[in-house]
Amino acid sequence: MKSTHRLLLLPVAIFFMAFWLLPVSRLLILPAEQDWRLYFVFLTEARYAWSLINTLGLSISVTLVTLILGAAVGLYLGRQQFPGRQLLLSILTLPLSFPGVIIGFFMILLAGRQGLVTDITQALGLGRFSFAYGLAGLFLAYLYFSLPRAIAAYAAAAQSMDKSVEEAARSLGARRWHIIRDVWMVQLEPTTSACAAIVFATSMGAFGTAFTLSSQFEVLPITIYSEFTNFANFTLAASLSITLGLFTWFALFLTRRQEIVTGVASQ
């Protein structure tokens, strides 16, 4: 590499090394300084194992539902033309800029103790049904911040879909279902992989939303946080962070492998 180029990379390299690479490496070996078995605490302690399983389960289900709903809405808005379409699309993708805490708050407004839905169920005579602080509330909150990403991705993909392939299929007599299966899903594969990866990763690492809801459903980021603040247990927090990071990275790795195998270029 030319010396000028090396010089150009120097500031980034120094900054990154000082403020991420070295600190994180230190974090990585922290459990080992005490006891290498601490790395597997997510298997050995029930509380942590459940936290991990909860987080995985929540993230996977949120990803699946987001993909289906997001694709439906994104494709609809990407392909239809009606007045206010652009406005609707902008509003639906607005939450991309919201911090997770706001979305937790939204759930409280919707279904917390004074929530709208709670008032509605009371008015319908079903008693005050407030679900914001349990799994249902958390799930809906996670859905709330994941959908915009999927909608934006699918809307963009819908607009750049090759219409000629669909028209060729229709001229050959393909029905609606065939089009969805053979044309749309094939063309949307890269979008789906990329979207699934990012939605999953965001859900796994999401902290602010669960924090605001003080959710009864414990997810791993919350566990990590409480270990650190409540028990000043740096080592345990480090071990669990590594676990969380590895699982997230592995899932992303799988989707990238899948793209290579199917010959699809990742963006």
Partner: protein
């Protein structure tokens, strides 16, 4: 695209999702402006919650914007030259470098926060300043800028322009500042927009790094949701909308303009 087939099923799903997404926004806006949430509009409209928010949390808004701006500037200064070097060296080594830069995005913000505290927690002045938070934000948002700008530098028409400038006798400084950077301005703008958006809304990392004297807007929000009335929390959320969203739209519009101007 000429005629469209009607999809009533998709339309219904879209409608339900739209209601789901829009209702809370409307709720929080109205909650911010009424005297008493449980009584609703019957209790009358007021601005006092907004006033309270500005008094108690006004600083957080200013600091969040300042950090976001500093984040953008800092990342441009170190990231754009690096993007050029990466674009001109498509070796395995360079690809690994780019992958490593992206790690802070894959790793949960909590972990990065922990790592920074572990490494620098003892440097009191640094630890208790806004620079500590700024550093975290820069690390987290850098890959977005670098990726976007590297891709732009790799475009074949940019390679050709670089070579053309070389044949005309320009040295590196003249080429980089006079030709290349102006040519990738749209990409820098798009990347900066991402950096700004991410920085303003960043919570996971910032919550770990903050102190009571160095709070950003999302950190303040969390505080108000936990300790204040619903109406105050809503008012604070409304402040977020009013201040941040127009800024984002403005930046988006500038980016869009730049892209049009440079469309080849």
């Amino acid at each position: 695209m000429t005629r469209r087939t009607q999809s009533p099923g998709l339309a219904l799903i879209t409608a339900i999702v739209a209601v789901f997404m829009l209702t809370p926004m409307a709720l929080s806006t109205s909650a911010a402006l009424v005297n008493n949430y449980s009584q609703g509009f019957a209790s009358g409209l007021t601005l006092r919650w907004l006033e309270q928010v500005i008094t108690v949390y006004g600083q957080t808004v200013v600091w969040s914007i300042a950090i976001a701006v500093a984040c953008v500037i800092g990342n441009i200064l170190i990231g754009v030259p690096a993007a050029y070097a990466l674009a001109r060296n498509p070796s395995r080594w360079a690809k690994t470098f780019e992958e490593v830069l992206t790690l802070p995005v894959a790793v949960p913000g909590l972990a990065t926060g922990l790592a920074l505290i572990l490494a620098y927690g003892t440097l009191r002045d640094f630890r208790q300043s806004y620079s500590f938070i700024l550093v975290g934000h820069m690390i987290f948002t850098l890959p977005f800028l670098v990726r976007t700008v590297t891709a732009a530098f790799q475009r074949p028409d940019l390679v050709a322009m670089d070579e053309a400038a070389k044949t005309l006798g320009a040295n590196f400084r003249q080429r980089f500042l006079g030709i290349l950077v102006p040519a990738v301005l749209p990409a820098i703008a798009a990347g900066s927009l991402m950096v700004f958006t991410l920085s303003i809304g960043e919570f996971n990392l910032t919550w770990m790094l903050h102190t009571p004297l160095t709070r950003t807007l999302p950190v303040g929000l969390a505080d108000s949701y936990a300790s204040m009335r619903l109406e105050v929390g809503s008012a604070y959320t409304l402040v977020f909308f009013i201040v941040v969203l127009p800024m984002l739209w403005l930046l988006q519009w500038c980016t869009h303009l730049l892209e049009k101007k440079y469309a080849n």
